[in-house]
Symmetry: C2
Subunit: 174 residues, 2 copies
Amino acid sequence: MQLSPAVQKYVLHWGEMGTRWGTNRTVAQIQALLYLSPKPLRADQIVDALSVARSNVSTSIRELQSYGLVRMTHVLGDRRDYFESLHDVWELFRVIIEQRKQRELNPTLAMLRICAEEVESEKDTDSVTKERIRNMLKFVETASEFYEDIKDVPTSTLTKIMKRGKRITKLVSM
Amino acid sequence: MQLSPAVQKYVLHWGEMGTRWGTNRTVAQIQALLYLSPKPLRADQIVDALSVARSNVSTSIRELQSYGLVRMTHVLGDRRDYFESLHDVWELFRVIIEQRKQRELNPTLAMLRICAEEVESEKDTDSVTKERIRNMLKFVETASEFYEDIKDVPTSTLTKIMKRGKRITKLVSM
DNA sequence: CTCTAATTTCAGTTAAAACAGAAAATTAAG
DNA sequence: CTTAATTTTCTGTTTTAACTGAAATTAGAG
């Protein structure tokens, strides 16, 4: 399992970036490797390509599967597991965003609602502080609602919106 | 420096979330504390409120300043430094996004361009792999351009766009 | 210029996460 | 049912980042 220079560069960079995105290097590297691979790979092939322990691959793949980024497949007459990543970049993006929404935005929203309510009854808390909490809650609520609005919009529409970014903002600002 | 229950909850949660966003707990807690504080705080007050080492506050604040999230201010006849966070949630959001763009998106874009070019000359690399790299590059480029389009749009316009999310997507999809 | 308050730097410690390798468990084939 | 292949779980080690406390530095007051 010899990775070409370009593929190697990609995988290494992705691993590095992964550490800044809440996951660890190996998980991100495996995802990158599977994304670039023209066909599904076995765990032992991943071990070979990335020089990591078999056990590490096992737990990392479990994590990727739990995110919905990687699927298991099989080959007739071969009982070993094969894995492949989502291949569509937009789909990948959607899944990652959805995960982050679940794991970060939702808990934060819950916390802010509790804080916003609780702080109102705190007589000694400055009114500015109360307002700041309300503002943050409002912001996160707005972001959350906006996400719900667009999360199921087809990719073709999303790309159109992005290409027309400038024009849309001009239209709306009038 | 006694934090009210609601403020305490907010600060602790923010610290927890910070660890998932590339920064460490203390940095995020200090930002949260300053955001909620009706007036600028001194380092010793932060030490007191969060029970962390003075040196830790010093380095954390330096990090927050480097991001542009926190400013130093002074009080007449007092040579100690005071600190305050950006107070506007949208401004906070903009600054954070801009930072992440610089530190994550830009390097990734550079890597992808190099890979996309380099992989073309690799005769043994599967054409599917080449296409995957191209697709990822295209995606990141589109996202990057879209960001440039909207980063300077005034907050009022952005909120309008977010509130009208559904209507806009319907409009564009036609 | 000297002394003191305040901040920063630095070295060592602690804590947390990632990882490897061995052991255990699972699964299919004979 | 037994065996061999494969995967998962678990424990201990390594690595990395965060944090503390002491020492060094900076900057203002007298």
